[in-house]
C-alpha cells in the first residue's frame, strides 16, 4: 500500500479536455498538452470536421499569425474569453522559444490581425532567452530556449501557468533564471504573487531543494508540458513540471500560492560518479497523471539502481503528505524499467524519448495500461519493442505486461488513443516509419500494428485525434521531413489527416495547388490542436490555422 494520505475532497478535474464550468455547454477547450493529463491526444467533441469534409477541395490553410520565435509548445484554446475592451473571443494561445506568450483570435486573422494580447518576458539586451549553447549545450533545441514546456490553463481561476527560462546580465554578472508565471488568460497580466522564481543562480551555480543534487538553471531545460493535477489539499491543484539537462527533475508547485511543494530528481550523479542524466523530456510529453492524481514520468539515459537513480525508467510518483511535518514528498511508489536498461545506457537509447500514454480502463484482469515507446535498436533487442505496462503493478525491471513491435529506430514522439464504435486503437509513429494503429482491449494491446498509413514520417510524429465521440474519427499528424541533424531546418511542416478507422489519407498540406496550404518551417515536439473546426499548428515562424475553406491564396 502506498504511503499516502487521502483526503475526501471532491475537486474539479483540472486540465481535462472540455472542463469549462463557467462557459456554455458543448464548447470544448484545449487546456494542456495532448488534450488531457493522460495524454490521449483526443478531442471527442469535434462536430465540424469529419472524414467527409476534410479534403483539399474544401479544407486547407485559412490564416496564420506570425510570431517572433519558434513554437515548440502545443497551442492551447479557450472559447468565449472576455478580453476586456477587445470583446469576447475564442482564443488560441501560443508560447515561443523567444519567451513570449501570444493570445490570438482563434477564428479570424483578417478581423483580428494583431494579438489580442501578448506578454514579453524579455528586456534585451540584459534579459534574453537562453542561447542553446549555454549550459547543457548540444543545441537539440535551437537557437534559443525560452519557453519549451507547453503551458497549462486552469479555467477555475482563468490562469495560464508557464515556465520561462532567461539569461540575465547585470554589469559583468550573468545569471540564469527559471520562473513560474501565472498569467490572467483575459489580459496576459501577471496574477497576484506571480512570478515565482524557481531558481536564479549566477553562472553555473544552482539551487538546493534539500537533497544532494543541485538544480542548476544554466543547464536545466524544461521540456515536458506542464501538468495541472487535482491533489487533495490543494484548492487549485498542483503543477508538475519536468526538466532535462544533466539530471532529470520533477518539481511540484501549489497552483494557488506558486509555492514549491515537493521535488524529485532522477539521478544523483554521485552513486556512480560521472554518470547522471535520467533527463525527463519524452518529446515534450514525459509527464502524465492518472485520474487518481498519481504522476508518471519517463526518463532518458542514466544510471539505474532503483534506489535513487532512475535512468531509462517509467516511474510512478505519489505526492505524499508527512502528517508530522506538514510537508510533501514525491515518492517513487512503483516503477518499470526495461530489462535492457544497461545496454540502453551504453548506447544512448533513451526509453524516455517518447512520452507515455495512460490508456482508459480496458476491463479484464489488467485493465489499467500504459503504452510506452522510446528509442530502439537491434543493438539491445533483436525485436525493437514498445512496452505495455500495468500501472497498478508496474513490474519493476523487465516486468512489462507485453511487448508490441515497432520500427527499428523506435520513437521520439508520443502516441494517441481513440475508441471507435467497433475498436479501440492506439496510434503511434516511430522514426522513419508509417503511422501505425494497434488495437487495445481487455485482452491487452496487439503485438503488431493492425493498419498503417501509406506514407512514412522521417522523424516520428505525435498525432492528435478529433472525433464526435466514437464517430468521425480523424487522426492528425505533423511531418518534419528533413534531416533531423540540420537545425533549425527549413522545410515546411506537412499536416496530414487520416480516417481514424482505416488510416487512409484524407488530406495533406501539399495537395492543394499554388502552395495554398504551405505551413511554416517545422519544429520538433509539436502536436496539432484540433478544436471547434480548426487545426492549429505551431512552426518556427508562425501559427498556422487550418479549417473549412474558403482558403485564401
Amino acid at each position: 500500500m502506498r504511503p499516502r494520505q487521502v483526503l475526501s475532497v471532491a475537486l474539479l478535474s483540472f486540465s481535462s479536455f472540455g472542463v469549462v464550468s463557467l462557459l456554455p455547454a458543448q464548447t470544448p477547450s484545449v487546456l494542456t498538452r495532448q488534450y488531457d493529463n493522460q495524454h490521449t491526444g483526443q478531442n471527442l467533441q469535434e462536430t465540424i470536421l469529419t472524414p467527409s469534409n476534410v479534403n483539399s477541395g474544401g479544407f486547407g490553410k485559412v490564416f496564420s499569425y506570425p510570431v517572433d520565435g519558434q513554437i515548440w509548445t502545443q497551442p492551447l484554446y479557450v472559447p468565449n474569453v472576455n478580453v476586456g475592451t477587445k470583446g469576447t473571443h475564442n482564443v488560441v494561445y501560443v508560447a515561443t522559444e523567444n519567451a513570449k506568450v501570444y493570445a490570438f483570435d482563434a477564428d479570424s486573422a483578417k478581423k483580428n490581425p494583431n494579438p489580442l494580447w501578448f506578454t514579453d518576458f524579455l528586456n534585451p539586451p540584459n534579459v534574453l532567452a537562453v542561447p542553446c549553447d549555454i549550459g547543457a549545450g548540444l543545441c537539440q533545441l535551437f537557437p534559443l530556449v525560452g519557453i519549451t514546456q507547453t503551458p497549462v490553463i486552469n479555467l477555475a481561476n482563468n490562469t495560464m501557468y508557464v515556465v520561462v527560462r532567461t539569461q540575465e546580465t547585470a554589469g559583468t554578472v550573468v545569471s540564469y533564471v527559471e520562473r513560474l508565471h501565472a498569467l490572467d488568460i483575459t489580459s496576459g497580466a501577471e496574477q497576484p504573487g506571480s512570478p515565482a522564481v524557481i531558481c536564479s543562480a549566477v553562472g553555473s551555480g544552482g539551487c538546493s531543494f534539500g537533497g544532494p543534487v543541485m538544480f542548476i538553471p544554466k543547464v536545466k531545460q524544461g521540456r515536458p508540458g506542464l501538468l495541472l493535477v487535482n491533489e487533495p489539499g490543494f484548492s487549485q491543484g498542483v503543477l508538475f513540471m519536468g526538466f532535462a539537462g544533466a539530471t532529470g527533475w520533477v518539481l511540484a508547485y501549489d497552483a494557488s500560492t506558486l509555492q514549491l511543494v515537493a521535488t524529485f530528481f532522477a539521478n544523483d550523479g554521485i552513486t556512480r560518479s560521472g554518470y547522471g542524466f535520467g533527463g525527463i523530456w519524452g518529446a515534450g510529453g514525459a509527464v502524465v497523471a492518472d485520474s487518481a492524481g498519481n504522476v508518471y514520468v519517463v526518463t532518458g539515459d542514466g544510471y539505474f539502481d532503483s534506489i535513487i537513480n532512475w535512468g531509462d525508467s517509467l516511474i510512478k510518483l505519489v505526492l505524499t503528505l508527512n502528517p508530522a511535518t506538514g510537508t510533501y514528498s514525491l515518492v517513487p511508489a512503483d516503477y518499470f524499467t526495461p530489462s535492457d536498461e544497461a545496454c540502453r545506457f551504453t548506447n544512448g537509447l533513451d526509453l524516455g524519448s517518447a512520452g507515455p500514454l495512460i490508456l482508459p480502463a480496458q476491463g479484464g484482469t489488467t485493465p489499467d495500461l500504459i503504452f510506452q515507446g522510446g528509442k530502439a535498436s537491434t543493438l539491445c533487442d533483436s525485436t525493437p519493442s514498445i512496452y505495455i505496462v500495468n500501472r497498478d503493478n508496474m513490474g519493476h525491471l523487465g516486468g512489462q505486461v507485453s511487448l508490441s513491435q515497432t520500427a527499428k529506430a523506435g520513437s521520439s514522439s508520443s502516441p494517441a488513443y481513440w475508441a471507435s464504435a467497433t475498436a479501440n486503437h492506439i496510434y503511434n509513429v516511430a522514426d522513419s516509419d508509417s503511422l501505425r494503429a494497434y488495437t487495445v482491449s481487455s485482452a491487452g494491446v496487439s503485438t503488431a500494428s493492425v493498419m498503417q498509413t501509406s506514407n512514412t514520417f522521417s522523424n516520428g510524429s505525435s498525432p492528435a485525434i478529433s472525433a464526435n465521440g466514437t464517430s468521425n474519427g480523424i487522426v492528425w499528424a505533423l511531418d518534419r521531413t528533413e534531416n533531423s541533424d540540420i537545425l533549425p531546418g527549413v522545410q515546411p511542416v506537412i499536416l496530414h489527416a487520416y480516417n481514424g478507422t482505416s488510416l487512409s489519407e484524407l488530406y495533406n498540406s501539399t495537395q492543394a495547388a499554388s502552395g495554398r496550404d504551405t505551413a511554416g518551417p517545422s519544429v520538433k515536439f509539436q502536436v496539432p490542436t484540433v478544436v471547434n473546426g480548426k487545426v492549429y499548428v505551431g512552426t518556427q515562424t508562425e501559427l498556422d490555422v487550418y479549417g473549412l475553406c474558403p482558403c485564401p491564396q
Binding site: 537557437p143 534559443l144 504551405t518 518551417p521
Partner: protein, 424 residues
C-alpha cells in the same frame, strides 16, 4: 561596389575541356597525384558552430562563411578564416559579426555569403528583421576601411510577407552590376517563394518582387541560389512544383520591365529516376547546358547529378551520375567547375565509406554515358560530417575548401562542424 559574379558560361566549352583533360591525362601522361585532405578549422559549442553553406574567398586568400549557431548571442556568426602566416600551419578564425536575437537586424544566417569586388559581404538570415513578420533579412557586412577595425552590419531589406513580399530567404544572393538578386523559400503571392531584386541606393534603395512562385503547376519553393546568364536572365531550382510536384528548374527572362518565368525541366518523371528535389546552385557550360544535383530520386533514390540541354520545346535531361550509399548520397548543395579539366566538384551529405558524406569529383566520359566519380574525401565524423555547402575552388592553386555542418568537435548536437581543405 557590387561586382559581376563570374559567369561560368564564359568558361571553356565542355568539349574543349574534355579534350584538354585527355590530352593532359594521356598524351602528357602526368602521373596521378593523391589528394590531401585536412581540417583547417574545428568549430566548438561556446565559440561558433554549425557552418552553413559554403565558403567564399577574397583576393588575399581569406575565406568567409557563416555559422548558424554560436557567437555572442547564440544565434549565429559571420566569420573570416585567414590562411596560416609563414612558418605556421594554423588558420585563424575571426568572428566578424554576431547576429542578435532581438531587434530588427536579423539572426540565424541561412546561407553562405556572397562577396563583391570591394570585399563586402552579402547574406541572408532565416529569422528576425521585421517586427511583425520575423521573416529574415538581407544584410551587408561592409569591409572596414582600416584593417582590424570592426565590420559594419547593414540591413538592406527585412522581409515582411506583406504586399507579396517573401519570407524565409534560404540561398545566397547573386550580384550583378549594381543589383542584388535573391530568393525566399516561402511568401509571395502563393506562399511558395519569390525572386526579389534590390538596387541599393538612398533610403534603402529600390526593392521589388520580380516573381512569385506557386500558381497552378508552377515551380514552388526556391531551393538554391540564382544563376545569371549574359543576357540577364535568371535560373534556379525549386524543391516542389512542376509537372510532378517534385521540383523544377526555372528561368526568369526580362522583357522590358516585366519578367516571364518558364519551367525548363520538371523532376520526378520516370518514377523518380530523373531525380527528386533539386537543390543548390546551377552551373552553365559554354554551350549553354545547365548542371545541377537533386537530393533524392535516381536509381537509388538518393539523388542524381544531371545535365540539362536546351531543345526546341523543353530542355532534355542527361543523368551524369546516380548517388547511392556506398559512393555518397543526397547532396544538399550544387557543384563547382574545375575549368582546368572540365570536371565537377560537389558534396554529398551522407553515405560513402563512413556514412557521413563526401567530397566528390565527377569526370566526363570519353564516349558518352555516365560520368566517373572520384571520392576526394569521405568524412568520418571525426574529421567532419554532413557537408551541406558547395565546394570553393581557389582559381590560383586549385585547392578546394568547404564546410561540414556536423562532425568535428563534440558538444553540439551532431558535433559542431569543420572547415576543410583538399589539395587535389
Amino acid at each position: 561596389m557590387l561586382r559581376w559574379v563570374p559567369n561560368l558560361s564564359k568558361t571553356f566549352g565542355r568539349l574543349t575541356l574534355v579534350f584538354f583533360f585527355f590530352f593532359v591525362a594521356f598524351a602528357l601522361s602526368i602521373p596521378a597525384r593523391a589528394q590531401t585532405a585536412s581540417t583547417i578549422y574545428s568549430f566548438a559549442l561556446h565559440d561558433s558552430f554549425w557552418p552553413e553553406g559554403g565558403l567564399v574567398e577574397d583576393a588575399s586568400g581569406n575565406l568567409y562563411g557563416t555559422t548558424v549557431g554560436g557567437g555572442t548571442y547564440g544565434t549565429g556568426t559571420a566569420y573570416q578564416l585567414s590562411p596560416p602566416v609563414k612558418g605556421s600551419t594554423t588558420w585563424t578564425k575571426t568572428v566578424l559579426y554576431s547576429f542578435q536575437p532581438w531587434g530588427s537586424t536579423g539572426h540565424t544566417p541561412s546561407s553562405e555569403l556572397t562577396i563583391d569586388s570591394s570585399g563586402n559581404l552579402y547574406g541572408v538570415t532565416w529569422s528576425g528583421g521585421d517586427g511583425r513578420c520575423h521573416c529574415g533579412v538581407l544584410y551587408e557586412l561592409i569591409h572596414p576601411a582600416t584593417s582590424g577595425a570592426p565590420w559594419t552590419h547593414l540591413v538592406l531589406h527585412a522581409f515582411t510577407n506583406t504586399n507579396n513580399d517573401g519570407r524565409l530567404p534560404n540561398a545566397p544572393v547573386v550580384l550583378s552590376s549594381n543589383t542584388i538578386y535573391g530568393v525566399t523559400q516561402q511568401g509571395g503571392l502563393y506562399d511558395s517563394g519569390i525572386v526579389y531584386r534590390l538596387i541599393p541606393g538612398k533610403n534603402g534603395g529600390t526593392y521589388s518582387v520580380i516573381y512569385s512562385f506557386g500558381a497552378n503547376n508552377d515551380a514552388s519553393g526556391p531551393n538554391g541560389p540564382l544563376l545569371l546568364d549574359s543576357a540577364g536572365s535568371l535560373y534556379g531550382v525549386t524543391s516542389l512544383g512542376g509537372a510532378f510536384n517534385a521540383g523544377a528548374v526555372y528561368k526568369l527572362a526580362q522583357n522590358g520591365g516585366s519578367w516571364t518565368e518558364s519551367i525548363l525541366f520538371s523532376f520526378g518523371g520516370g518514377s523518380g529516376s530523373s531525380g527528386i528535389t533539386p537543390v543548390g546552385n546551377l552551373l552553365f557550360d559554354s554551350p549553354g547546358n545547365l548542371y545541377g544535383v537533386t537530393e533524392f530520386g535516381g536509381t537509388s533514390q538518393l539523388g542524381v547529378a544531371y545535365e540539362l540541354s536546351p531543345a526546341s520545346s523543353s530542355w532534355t535531361q542527361n543523368i551524369l551520375f546516380n548517388f547511392s550509399k556506398p559512393v555518397g548520397s543526397s547532396p544538399l548543395a550544387g557543384m563547382t567547375w574545375n575549368p582546368s579539366n572540365g570536371s565537377l566538384y560537389g558534396t554529398t551529405s551522407a553515405g560513402a565509406s563512413h556514412t557521413h558524406g563526401s567530397v566528390f569529383q565527377l569526370t566526363p566520359p570519353v564516349f558518352g554515358g555516365l560520368w566517373t566519380e572520384t571520392l576526394l574525401q569521405q568524412f568520418t565524423f571525426t574529421n567532419g560530417g554532413l557537408p551541406s555547402g558547395r565546394v570553393l575552388r581557389d582559381p590560383t592553386t586549385g585547392y578546394l575548401y568547404g564546410t561540414t555542418y556536423n562532425g568535428g568537435v563534440s558538444g553540439c548536437d551532431g558535433n559542431c562542424g569543420v572547415d576543410y581543405q583538399i589539395i587535389p
